[in-house]
């Protein structure tokens, strides 16, 4: 719920700054390693946007994958864990943020 609230607060603030009457679409990038569940965020967004100028707006979520790589052999992996087959430590970059990228609105 706190993500959805922060999302709607920011969207409404920007839309009002631009003098918008209505928000039609919001695009958000979601890091794959966040525990934040996309379906749940969509549901909560629908709830908290009720009664605001973003009511009924579309929420598009784009998944952002982390880069998971062995620090020794460079092999890449899809999900993070500790040690590569070669004994090297895996490094994990990104995939931990949630960022509003675009707001479409009507003026």
């Amino acid at each position: 719920m706190s993500f959805a609230q922060s999302l709607i607060d920011n969207v409404v603030r920007i839309a009002e700054e631009k003098g918008a009457k209505k928000v039609s679409k919001v695009v958000v990038e979601i890091g794959k390693l966040l525990m934040l569940n996309p379906e749940q965020l969509k549901f909560c967004y629908e709830v908290v946007s009720k009664g605001t100028i973003a009511e009924n707006s579309e929420l598009e979520l784009i998944e952002v994958k982390p880069i998971i790589k062995c620090s020794i052999c460079g092999k890449e992996y899809d999900t993070p864990f500790a040690i590569c087959d070669c004994g090297g430590v895996l490094t994990v970059e990104g995939g931990k943020d949630a960022v509003i990228k675009k707001i479409e609105m009507e003026i």
Binding site: F3, V28, A82, I83, K101, K102, I103, M105
Partner: protein, 223 residues
């Protein structure tokens, strides 16, 4: 009526990062070493604070911020062990965030060690930095031996992993070795401590890690 688009770059975690940074700065300034204590509901988080206070309360003044969705049971319990405590009622949130801590932290400038007991849950607490020095993740054998595998992210980022209630393992048909293997696969740095707080197993090992962690952090803070 016409349409416009605004390209923006606004992180939904920015506010939490800001408060976490301020918490970290406050704790550094006052030489307080802090632990974000996360874990499953009923895994033994509060009892770990009680036992730690009993063992080491003479050496360090201990504080605890207790996050809970309701009730003051944990608060009353740790007070009895000489812990300076404050409750944070998280309401409908199932995790602590840095803003909750920000409100509570001022009372803890005079402690040496601060535990922040998170809400019992292995999922969302991991997304929210509180400004802590160390993350401890606690589970007990009653959650089943697949509990670590099912929650990889929180164990991957832990600084210490505790498997509690091990004397009940046979009774609940939990294979502790499987849990340890899963934990090691996810995290090569963190010590994995087998514990039973009721039977006083693993407490020495915990205290040894804990004192070492406190002293290391104090040195970094220049205390």
């Amino acid at each position: 009526m016409h349409k416009i688009e605004a390209d923006v770059q606004i992180s939904l975690l920015e506010e939490n990062r800001k408060y976490a940074g301020e918490n970290r700065e406050f704790l550094r300034e006052h030489g307080v070493v802090s632990f974000n204590l996360m874990g499953a509901t009923g895994s033994g988080k509060t009892m770990l604070i009680e036992k730690t206070a009993d063992k080491i309360g003479e050496k360090y003044r201990i504080g605890a911020i207790l996050g809970d969705v309701a009730g003051d049971d944990d608060f009353k319990r740790v007070k009895k062990h000489g812990v300076k405590a404050k409750m944070v009622n998280t309401g409908k949130e199932c995790h602590l965030d840095a803003h909750f801590i920000h409100h509570a932290i001022e009372d803890f400038a005079d402690v040496d060690v601060l535990f922040m007991e998170n809400v019992g849950n292995l999922v969302c607490p991991v997304d929210f930095d509180l400004g802590e020095d160390y993350r401890i993740v606690m589970v007990s054998v009653t959650e089943g031996d697949d509990v670590i595998r099912k929650h990889p992210e929180i164990f991957r980022l832990a600084d210490a992993i505790i498997i509690n209630k091990i004397s009940l393992a046979d009774a609940v048909e939990c294979d502790v070795d499987t849990m340890i293997r899963d934990a090691k696969r996810l995290n090569a740095r963190a010590p994995i401590i087998k514990m039973d707080l009721k039977k006083e197993i693993g407490i020495e090992e915990w205290i040894e890690w804990f004192v070492d962690a406190v002293e290391r952090a104090k040195k970094l803070k220049g205390v």
